[in-house]
Subunit: 398 residues, 2 copies
Amino acid sequence: MPHISRLADNLPQSAIRALTPFAEKAEADGVKVYHLNIGAPDIKSPQVVVDAVHNYKFDHLPYSNSLGTRELRQGFLDKYYNKLGLHLSMEDILVTTAGSEALDFFFQITTNPGEEVIVFEPFYVNYNSIALKYGIKLVPIHTDIREGFRLPPVQEIEKAVTPRTRAVLISNPSNPTGTVFDKQELLAIAGICRKYDLFLGSDEVYREFCYSDKPIFSVMEIDDFDQYAIMLDSVSKRYNLCGARIGTIISRNKEVMSLGLRLAQARLCPPVLAQAATLAALDAPESYFEETRSEYIRRRNFTVAALNRIPGVFSPMPNGAFYTIAELPVENAADFCRWLLTDFRLDNQTVMLTPAAGFYGTKGQGLNQVRVAYVLEVPELEKAMAVLENALKKYNNK
Amino acid sequence: MPHISRLADNLPQSAIRALTPFAEKAEADGVKVYHLNIGAPDIKSPQVVVDAVHNYKFDHLPYSNSLGTRELRQGFLDKYYNKLGLHLSMEDILVTTAGSEALDFFFQITTNPGEEVIVFEPFYVNYNSIALKYGIKLVPIHTDIREGFRLPPVQEIEKAVTPRTRAVLISNPSNPTGTVFDKQELLAIAGICRKYDLFLGSDEVYREFCYSDKPIFSVMEIDDFDQYAIMLDSVSKRYNLCGARIGTIISRNKEVMSLGLRLAQARLCPPVLAQAATLAALDAPESYFEETRSEYIRRRNFTVAALNRIPGVFSPMPNGAFYTIAELPVENAADFCRWLLTDFRLDNQTVMLTPAAGFYGTKGQGLNQVRVAYVLEVPELEKAMAVLENALKKYNNK
């Protein structure tokens, strides 16, 4: 019999999805499950997107340009990126099959098998899945919940650089922590990249979900950094089009984009219906983002306050995305999350959370932490927090 | 400055797309270019697809299951694969982001970096691009235009097996040759796979484009072969939905599908609008395929006869897909193809063909060959063939 590849031994089952069968079982039994486990919000997409799909004229669907349609690339520049002040030209942008593919291309473009990329833990789990596919090693630098997951001092980061390091990858605002890194932090990392000849990849898919009074500082705004900066982006969260599968990879480094083009050709093109939907989304009024932000600020404020009111629970106040990491008064959050789904009911309700250990690259970290996605309306979040408080009491008195 | 990865030195620019700037220049100058260079046909998709997109109810687009929606997987089984007699169950199918991703998963699942996959040249160029991404070596076995690109005897194929061989990959019907491999040939390869513990990947995306009186023999029909067989499929050609980006990977080997699921989770989900469009396409009447086949038989018969009437040109008679490889009376077909676009005009018309050397893994093979995609209506093909005949005369008298 043939043997499958060694990837089978290394590539983990998605931590988020490992609990899904238990949630499905509970729901099949008629239990109401509050899903705070996954970044799948209930916010509507802009109406222009729905209209564009319903009016899309076609009698067959040919391939588009591998880079994405010219119209969509131009639209991204004129209607979005250059309005943010990023000053990009048509050679700097490539449309990808969502942020997932932008990340995939980033690893392939910057790093050879056996070489290293520095990340800050906790980090988005698929950074690890994609790195594993290419035999690339992630080198995690620890950030601490008690310090709001801010970056450590430059000297700490420099210690992780080896002769095999090729890139640094950050998520800003961060999934899973919600931390927004500021200009100072970005410039500090940029300094390290210049010093050691490293690319800086910045995953900015939560850009519009920034709750401080100023917008995030993008990697593309760093001066004299064109050869180093690679921005990874997606419309999934921005317009609640997770299922569309449209993202971008952006860089002013011509070698990066030339290899990006060849990788793009090797998969022919991004999905064409979704490109049309995205082109329409770019016409969403600014009020769409403002309303979404206000709604998430309400949800965040409620959730973080409610978490910190529960005895033994600690959550920092994140400034972006729609997640927070909370420390729970339990030893093994994975066991607790499973128990919530299999055993605990309050008025026939329970809550689904994501154990945070899977977001850490260092074994033994984050064992008592969960990621909470505040993707429901406040009245629902209220009920979910009541469930959580009761569950913790009962779990610790087992 | 940071250095991009070694992929940049290895990954070729798409041979098909390298000529595109010259074609665009000709078209900008008002020249009519007959595009026989790419598998992008003019056939309409089933009307049910258009209707489904226009009536798709949504107010946002959430992720689907990483395997594809349950509805689409069940639809593929009930309305397509099991009608073909393949007897598949829900655990055997995974929806991919088109055939490109099915191929990508195939290489990752079966073969480690540094190991080998046997292919038959000429082969689809992206087999090579994807293998390169993963550090996998393609071992090409030659098939000959004068023998209609049929497979060589078993002993010839066995010579290519080494201790590092992990899989054999065929395209049936074949892109770029149009050859349909018969049951005998499939069983012969299956015997080799059993003997040496190799997976057999069969790229069957042109399945419905088979012009003999019986349907193709699928890898999934081989008896007692469940642990070896992996079928790679796509709706791109079948319903002329190349831009949708929906395909499948199919196997009854549970380890293969388990790793496939984890690879699928690492990119979240296939495009959701396209999944809805594809679900509708499965309701296309059988007459849709019959009409498409009749049309392509007319086009093939005309094209192959016309090619063989041109002095010095030889094309075998392919039984499938919508391509044929033709030998031309030139030394360097790549130069000729470029000259067609830059220099030759007949009544302000020219023709675009794909040089075939890029489909060969062995250097120096196929230099005087082109791939002709007969994707236009017969009256257009007539004009294109007249252009080609005149061009060859003029090129050889330069």
